[in-house]
Assembly symmetry: C2
Homo-oligomer: 201 residues x 2
């Protein structure tokens, strides 16, 4: 089984939200083929000033797709952009799995994708994000949450723990641990362990 | 005090080696101004297929500089390129601090920068890297090592722990922990804790 991974980038995305999962999925190139896409297919600049080349989304027959949505300050503007939200919704509908990191879940919530589903997000931005989806079953204390084919993670670096959890769900724990070893990553394996959830009460 | 951070990119660099530290340093934009540079100043592609815009190195009077060298498969080719090694050496000579991640320390070693200094590197590639610098005082069991103004880290994700250690050294632990909190990162604060060093014996 192989998948195309569509990583959606937009101006002012949070660097590690995208490139943490990319590092992990990119370690399994026989399984995951990474595509960096944006609405315009142009250069996109992260909040940390990384300028990345992107392409337009391109349909390919007979390949399963996985969608990755980072967060970052850019979500504040994008969430008001109906065409962007429709774009996310369409990509999600074509994907077998959708994963968001940090405030990326605000975009999914706004698109209605998370209605009646469990989800989490960044804890500092918790109030703002959760206001974007009143029908979402928000989980405050979680490193990441899976609801069927949708994974949402807590802030920034939590996206890496979630991605490893995703690999575990797809291929077993051994594969996830093997990937950790290759990038010398000390994985927080427990999706419920969230030391940041109580900081903003 | 503010610094320019020169992040040296080259084809086949390891994505997180560069963008882990970038995420952390980029959270302090009043202190650190990030520059992505390469020898050619052109688009550079990581091992995980991220295509990043870079510029040429540009001298600016009166600003302290910090050099960041990622590792990755591209180091195998670059280490044979005398002009690249000279480039690294020159950038190091102009920098107040030099930080390398993963096999990036092989490049520093080849340039003679680590002679008679303590340093570490990726544990899977340990044999190859250490062969690049016979006069280096290699430390096998370490998440990262500081020797005066030079920091070297273990594999990939260890670069993030090192960068937080660097921030601690410059500005104190509170600043480092504050940065962790913003990116919800569970920091391995102990530079000597290295669960990966014994895997390849």
């Amino acid at each position: 089984m192989s998948y195309i991974i569509d990583i959606v980038l937009f101006n002012d995305f949070e660097t590690l939200d995208a490139f943490g999962p990319v590092e992990i999925l990119g370690k399994l190139p026989d399984i995951f083929k990474l595509k960096f896409i944006s609405m315009e297919g142009s250069l996109v600049e992260s909040s940390q000033k990384v300028r990345v080349e992107t392409n337009l989304y391109k349909y390919e027959a007979g390949v399963e797709r996985i969608l990755i949505i980072p967060g970052g300050n850019g979500t504040r503007e994008n969430i008001e952009d109906e065409s962007f939200i429709s774009f996310i919704k369409e990509l999600h509908n074509r994907a077998k799995y959708t994963l968001s990191v940090c405030t990326g879940s605000a975009l999914l919530a706004k698109a209605g994708i998370l209605d009646n589903k469990k989800a989490t997000t960044n804890k500092k931005a918790y109030k703002w994000v959760t206001e974007q989806g009143e029908k979402v079953l928000w989980v405050k204390e979680a490193r990441w949450v899976r609801d069927e084919n949708i994974y949402t993670s807590s802030g920034v670096s939590a996206g890496m723990d979630m991605t490893l959890g995703f690999i575990e769900d797809l291929f077993g724990k051994e594969k996830a641990l093997e990937t950790c070893q290759r990038i010398e990553y000390i994985w927080n394996e427990d999706s419920k362990y969230d030391p940041f959830s109580k900081l903003y009460e």
